[in-house]
């Protein structure tokens, strides 16, 4: 079967349990089992080839530019791990089927399990280290889901998060390490990397790469000081623990160390680091495990310890060490999976895993007792069981290892580790099963159904067989070791055997077993000491740390983003000025090329007014009406300045914009307090003033230099001046630019205007649906209101002016193309004419006489402009291409018609519609304020009063 299919099967199959659970738990189980079994069978079809020394490969390009490809290969090392993952996976699936209760969602569980399985198989078959990283992180993610499976348990959630954080951290470190490795070798393909030992070890980047990769391995395999997550992952359902912590997840780190063994091992750093970390973990884990009362906690720490053991073996860098490691991986997987399942059986039967409440179970659970004893003794390293063989090899290796210059150190530490290891194994057996039967079990204990004991029982076959006849495994172990060593060194002479003669390892073993028994005998006093001794609780530290980090991060980001706009603006200003100044000061300025203009008295006066008005505005900014008036002055002076600089179009536009703006702002002021309150301290105001001055000075400086230095290169405006009439049919260059050269910009701008009006309308509506409505309805006016809201004189005046103003509007519109004017100004002028009616007689009165909805006018304006542009498509020209011609209708003079007029009409309509819609929005707010709509155009109308009197 193709390697792709083997890897893909669990992933694809992960969908099935979720679906089949609808057909019942049995169907769900069968589906899951079938998927796993197919993958296992698929793997086994490769067995002959693997034994024959062939390496199956499968390659698929995914992201070749980066070197991230779906390349798989199956060598003996990968095969061993894949077989463990899939084989033990099958046993776990059987076990879980009977373990999970009806309250647990089995479909979800099996889906996660298969995802995890797929990710693990992916790791061990990857021939591309980036691909390996993908699977690596996938195991972190899927184990997160598995560990947190019991969502209602806080321990489960916290354990899951902790596992994800720690292994995720390792995974990220490993990304860095792998990228460096790829950089050294120039390829991310594992097979290529494995051939470049000298290149890698000679590289200056070897050390960072090694450290980063080892961080990944150590976190995953729970090596000191990252070991703390593993015991907390025990909150998962027992099948998960059995799977993750015997054969799969935690072995991934060891797998990678074995995989990278040929290129990374053998250096001093490697030996020192990996050996010492392994030894520390082994002893520490074993020591703590002894004192754990929870069966699963004990097994968890024992797992940590055994992982340390294997880590140490890989760290020695000798081929014998590698062989021992391979063998122990096999052995540990078999007895540890069984032990976890036994713990689960006990939990299932007695409803507790606390050894203080257990004991004497051998009477009521004889079968479980037998299984536990076999597996436990194997873990303790008792002869005739497989744990003994590999532990002997470890001790043998320890004797030959020199660390920190001391030949004895390792041997002693290893013996102590083995002693503790024996001790907790014995405690596991004796405190659970031996002793007198108790009468206070939380539940009535009994041996489980076959579904639960089948899997651990099956695992006892290799435990015993390999223990009695280790040579059976030898060819395979040697094959795998060869794959680990990768031809870097010769395989060791030693064989796997029960009896090696009277070697130091044998005595060390004996010391360990006897010492273990003594240690167990001293359990009670030791335990009391342990309980009373202060010891760091990793979980508390971790939780506190994360919590402190999260709180600190929260405080930091909330303080930084405190919602104060003035501060945001201050930072904006300072940042812009700083960067601009930096850019200016690191360049060379060419200096002024123009002379100063002569300052005329009029100009000086106007600018004096401008400055004075601005200063007044700053000082009186709390008085809103005064501000508005001052803004009017400023706007006016700006308009005059435009005119002064020969830009009558701009001046005209600016003036009309000013008028409309002031009217609308006046209406807006109606709803605001007269004065704005003080919201900042004097210090802050001073700070803001300084920043404002800095910003202003920077802009002034920039403008100054621009004005004084002129264009270094000819500007495109020459072309506009030259071609405005010939190409655009208009004398008024500004207008031709607006509606023709850059008509597209204008198209965008009228849309901006239209959107603004729509937004304000929508906003008004939203406001009126909210709490603002009540506020408006209950509004008190600060000052007395005029009784005569629609005075006679004003109404008469505006009525008279209306046709005149409209005429002006039309005039300005029509002459726009050749003289100052155009659709924009015309729109504003016409809008002013209409606004005047509204002001004079009130909105309601005017509204009734207004037949076209403003929304529609805006829409029509945009459409009109757009359609004019589209029209040119039919002439085979691009959007907004203008055409113009000169026509003569007899009584009149010859006149020009340009398509630009259609566009200008669109501009005109949009402007009128937008202004009027704004007005309507204000009116809607005002109406809620309780103003009564007048039916009449004039409040106090002499003619009406007289008719009333007559009537």
């Amino acid at each position: 079967m193709s390697l792709f299919i083997i890897v893909a099967l669990p992933f694809l199959g992960a969908l099935l349990p979720g679906l089949f659970i609808r057909a019942g738990r049995q169907a769900c189980f069968v589906a899951t089992f079938t998927v796993s079994a197919l993958a296992f069978i698929g793997l086994m079809t490769h067995l002959p080839a693997v034994l024959g020394g062939q390496v199956a490969t499968a390659r698929l390009d995914w992201l070749p530019d980066l070197g991230l490809n779906l390349n798989l290969f199956l060598d003996p090392l990968g095969f061993m791990f894949a077989a463990l993952i899939l084989g033990i996976g099958l046993l776990i699936i059987i076990y879980a089927r009977w373990y999970l209760s009806r309250d647990d969602n089995m479909g979800e569980f099996f889906s996660y399990l298969l995802l995890f399985q797929g990710a693990m198989v992916g790791i061990v078959l990857s021939d591309n280290i980036l691909m390996l990283l993908v699977f690596w992180e996938l195991t972190s993610l899927s184990s997160f889901l598995l560990i947190g499976f019991w969502k209602h348990l806080p321990a489960g959630r916290q354990g899951a998060r902790m596992a994800l954080t720690v292994t995720g951290m390792g995974g990220l470190a490993m990304i860095g390490g792998m990228l460096i490795l790829g950089q050294i070798v120039g390829s991310y393909d594992l097979t290529v990397i494995l051939e470049n030992r000298e290149l890698i070890q000679a590289s200056p980047l070897y050390l960072p790469a090694l450290l980063l990769i080892l961080t990944g391995c150590f976190t995953k395999s729970a090596q000191f000081p990252f070991h703390f997550w593993l015991p907390h992952a025990m909150s998962a359902p027992t099948p998960v623990s059995a799977y993750l912590h015997s054969a799969t997840m935690v072995k991934a780190g060891l797998f990678l160390m074995a995989r990278m063994w040929p290129v990374l091992s053998g250096t001093d750093v490697w030996v020192t680091l990996v050996c010492s970390v392994g030894l520390i973990t082994m002893v520490l884990g074993a020591f703590i495990a002894f004192f754990k009362n929870d069966l699963k906690a004990l097994l968890a720490f024992s797992t940590v310890s055994h992982l340390g053991l294997i880590c140490f073996l890989l760290g020695t860098g000798t081929t014998f060490g590698a062989m021992a490691a391979v063998f122990h991986i096999l052995n540990h997987a078999s007895f540890k999976a069984a032990l976890f399942m036994v713990a689960g059986i006990v939990d299932h039967g007695v409803h507790t895993r606390d050894m203080r409440k257990l004991g004497g179970l051998r009477h009521v659970m004889p079968l479980t007792f037998v299984l536990a004893t076999l597996a436990g003794l194997s873990m303790a390293g008792i002869p005739l069981l497989n744990g003994f063989i590999s532990k002997e090899m470890m001790l043998e290796e320890a004797v030959h290892t020199t660390l920190f210059g001391s030949p004895l150190l390792v041997a002693v530490v290893a013996t102590i580790g083995a002693l503790f290891s024996a001790a907790y194994s014995f405690r596991f057996i004796s405190h659970t099963f031996l002793g007198a039967e108790r009468d206070d079990y939380p539940a009535h204990p009994h041996d489980p159904k076959a579904g639960l004991w089948f899997s651990p029982a099956l695992l006892m076959i290799p435990v015993i067989a390999l223990g009695v006849a280790p040579f059976m495994a030898e060819p395979f172990v040697r094959l795998v070791t060869e794959a680990v060593v990768g031809g870097v060194a010769e395989l060791p002479e030693e064989h796997l055997a029960l009896w090696h003669g009277f070697k130091p390892a044998l005595f060390m073993s004996m010391i360990a077993v006897v010492g273990g028994l003594i240690w167990l005998a001293l359990f009670s006093p030791l335990s009391r000491m342990w309980e009373s001794a202060p010891r760091p609780e990793a979980k508390d530290i971790f939780d506190t740390l994360i919590k402190a980090l999260a709180n600190g991060a929260g405080r930091f980001s909330r303080t930084l983003h405190d919602g104060s706009f003035t501060r945001y603006a201050a930072i904006f200003t300072l940042a812009v000025v700083a960067v601009g100044t930096h850019a200016w000061s690191t360049g060379t300025a060419g200096g002024a090329t123009r002379d100063m203009l002569r300052v005329t008295p009029i100009a000086a006066m106007l600018w004096g007014m401008l400055i004075a008005a601005t200063c007044f505005l700053v000082f009186y900014h709390r008085n809103r009406l005064a501000v508005l008036i001052l803004m009017g002055i400023i706007g006016l002076i700006v308009s005059v300045s435009f005119n002064y600089f020969s830009a009558p179009d701009l001046a005209l536009t600016q003036i009309s914009v000013e008028v409309v703006t002031i009217i609308l702002l006046l209406l807006a002021l109606n709803f605001l307090p007269n004065r704005s309150p003080k919201e900042s301290t004097p210090i802050r105001r001073t700070r803001d003033a300084v920043i404002a001055l800095i910003g202003g000075a920077a802009v002034a400086g920039l403008v100054w230099t621009i004005l004084m230095s002129g264009f270094p290169l000819a500007s495109i405006s020459e072309y506009h001046l030259a071609n405005s009439y010939k190409g655009g049919g208009g004398d008024n260059v500004v207008n031709v630019i607006l509606v023709d050269f850059r008509g597209y910009d204008t198209f965008g701008e009228i849309i901006v205007l239209g959107i603004a009006a729509l937004v304000i309308y929508a906003l008004t509506e939203a406001l009126l649906n909210g709490p603002v409505r009540a506020k408006l309805l209950n509004r008190d006016f600060e000052e007395a209101r005029a009784g005569d809201a629609h005075p006679l004189m004003m109404v008469v005046l505006t009525r008279v002016m209306m046709p005149v103003v409209l005429m002006v509007g039309v005039y300005i519109f029509l002459r726009g193309h050749n003289e100052p004017g155009g659709g924009f100004v015309a729109g504003l002028v016409v809008a002013i004419a209409v606004v005047m009616q509204y002001m004079a007689s009130g909105f309601a009165w005017a509204e009734k006489r207004q037949r076209y909805p403003y929304h529609g006018i805006i829409g029509a304006g945009v459409l009109c402009a757009g359609l004019t542009g589209i029209g040119s498509w039919f002439a085979g020209e691009p959007f907004l291409t203008s055409a113009f011609g000169y026509f003569r209708i007899p009584p009149m003079q010859e006149f020009e018609l340009a398509t630009a007029m259609g566009f200008d009409l669109g501009v005109f309509l949009s402007v009128v519609g937008a202004v009027m819609l704004l007005l309507e929005s204000f009116f809607r707010l005002g109406r809620r304020a309780g103003t009564e709509d007048s039916e009449y155009a004039i409040d106090i109308d002499p003619s009406r009063t007289s008719t009333a009197e007559e009537g």
Partner: protein
């Protein structure tokens, strides 16, 4: 000359006008037209993308005026790519808005949505910096309207800050354009590229200021530290579909940087050495760090996602700041990825806000979410995407960025920040997800213990009215896009490599724009006389 290039701008503009004109009282008509419009837009965008995919650079002269005197639209690989991404996002977000009923919670959702699309499309397609300003205005004002859609005090407050801050940005844009025009006398990007290259090295202070001011304008849009302050509140408070559409808005800023700083101010330009090439990368990394810190510290899920947007922009810009083709490939890939991931997350946040009862967006205890497994699964996948964990496109993007950073002098800083940042994000997202989806089960148990079981069931039933399928379809599609982006990472990056290559060899772009002849101007004898008169008149009028 084909008119398709302008269609992404004209179509939504006309559609919006029609919606305002005739359909403003008919929500179903609005919906139909709006969806139809976005679907057609998608078709057009795909066509343009296909057209540009062989390296063709199409130029469209508005008003048939020759560049640089008129405005041109340019459809090259980069702009059509961005147009396509927008066009893919638009219908999905729109479907969500319709399915969740967001479009009926205020006025003018659909016209504003179309105008917003018009603004984005216009910004991507234009070949003229002033026109870019205009479209920035269009998309700003439309986005403001969408942001405050449906009102609410907090939203209005955030919206006001959003629009004020961006007006500061617009003002800066004008300053930058003024400075650029003063130095070069042109506004067309291709012409700018040509002219900037000829500028005198001894008089470079002005153009240097112009270059950095313009970059800062884009930095505001792209939310780069310290110009990011507008983002967290506004994205968190905006209506969900709007926030989802905004996923592309930050990319407009990134697009601006990529376009202008490969074309006009390329990295090897002597005039602008020692500027953004020195500080853009640190700024991007700080942005990344700040975003991730915000993710970890957030107490609300919408804020959390908003901060993750900042983080992702930092990530994206750190790839841009390398200023190599590889960096651009990584940045573009990540941009596409983070657009869809962000959109999916914001929509999910909205679903959660709706279904979590009183807790809303706060990461407090609440009862389980209705439709939990589906929502939780989607959240899990989207969060994996956003935090850049395997196997989704976020991881691929991250690898590309890390790989591209090798060319940077700050490579160790980039690697460190990106990797540690990812870890922080993972912690932040896992805390939030476990609080929302897992802890709620404990809460439910506790409540069931204290209260009557029947009450509890009734309570949950209250919170879970039958959920419409359309929103879930929209979110699911976005996630499917992430998966597709992952699976087809190879072809996608190949395409992006070609895009980057095109950007780093701008001569075809420049010559395509500048060499295209404009309309023939007839010299009309009558007109000439007239023109002379007019010139005289204006001359006199001026004094």
């Amino acid at each position: 000359m084909t008119h398709w290039i302008i269609a992404p701008v004209v179509l939504p503009a006309m559609l919006a006008a029609i919606l305002v004109l005739v359909a403003r009282f008919h929500i179903s008509l609005q919906r139909t037209l709006s969806v139809a419009g976005t679907v057609v837009l998608l078709g057009i965008a795909a066509g343009l993308f296909w057209q540009a995919s062989d390296g063709t650079i199409s130029v469209y002269q508005l008003g048939h005026w020759q560049a640089p005197f008129g405005i041109v639209l340019v459809a090259d690989r980069l702009s059509t790519l961005m147009v396509l991404v927008t066009a893919v996002l638009a219908p999905l977000v729109l479907l969500y808005a319709i399915g969740s009923g967001w479009d009926t919670r205020g006025r003018h959702f659909h016209p504003l949505y179309q105008f917003q699309l018009m603004g984005i499309m216009g910004a991507f397609l234009t070949g003229d910096v002033f026109n870019l300003f205009v479209f920035f205005e269009v998309l700003l004002i439309a986005s403001y309207g969408l942001m405050v859609h449906a009102g609410g005090a907090e939203r209005l407050r955030a919206g006001t800050q959003y629009v004020l801050y961006n007006l500061l940005g617009s003002t800066l844009f004008l300053f930058a354009l003024g400075t650029i025009y003063a130095q070069t006398g042109t506004l067309n990007m291709a012409d700018l590229a040509e002219r900037v290259a000829t500028l005198d090295l001894a008089d470079n202070a002005g153009i240097r200021v112009a270059a950095v001011l313009l970059l800062l304008v884009f930095a505001v849009k792209a939310a780069i530290l310290p110009l990011h302050f507008w983002l967290p509140a506004s994205y968190a408070e905006a209506p969900a579909p709007v926030a989802a559409l905004f996923a592309i808005m930050t990319k407009v800023g990134a697009y601006g940087i990529i376009r202008i700083y490969t074309l006009v101010f390329p990295p090897d330009l002597a005039l602008t050495q020692g500027l953004f090439d020195t500080w853009l990368m640190p700024a991007a990394l700080l942005t990344l760090a700040l975003g991730m810190i915000g993710v970890l510290g957030a107490r609300r899920i919408d804020k959390l996602v908003a901060f993750s947007v900042i983080g992702s922009m930092g990530m994206l810009l750190s790839a841009v700041a390398v200023f190599t083709p590889d960096g651009i490939v990584a940045a573009l890939y990540y941009a596409i990825h983070s657009t869809f991931a962000t959109a999916a997350l914001f929509l999910l946040v909205d679903v959660l806000r709706d279904r979590r009862g009183k807790a809303g967006a706060w990461l407090n205890d609440a009862v389980p979410v209705a439709g939990g497994p589906l929502v939780a699964g989607m959240f899990f996948v989207a969060a994996i995407g956003m935090t850049g964990l395997p196997p989704l496109s976020g991881f691929v993007g991250k690898l590309l960025i890390l790989d591209a950073a090798r060319d940077s002098a700050l490579v160790w800083w980039v690697w460190g920040t990106v990797l540690i940042g990812s870890l922080i994000a993972v912690v932040g997202f896992s805390r939030a997800g476990s609080q929302i989806f897992w802890r709620s089960h404990q809460v439910a148990l506790v409540q069931a213990d204290t209260a009557e079981c029947e009450d509890e069931e009734a309570n949950i039933a209250d919170l879970s009215p039958p959920q419409p399928a359309l929103p879930m379809v929209a979110i699911g599609s976005l996630i499917a896009l992430l998966v597709a982006l992952t699976i087809f990472a190879g072809p996608v990056t190949r395409n992006l490599s070609a895009t980057a290559a095109q950007l780093f060899a701008p001569e075809p772009y420049i010559s395509a724009v500048l060499s295209m002849p404009g309309k023939v101007i007839k010299s009309d004898s009558y007109g000439d006389d007239h023109a002379d008169d007019a010139t005289k008149q204006t001359d006199e009028g001026g004094h």
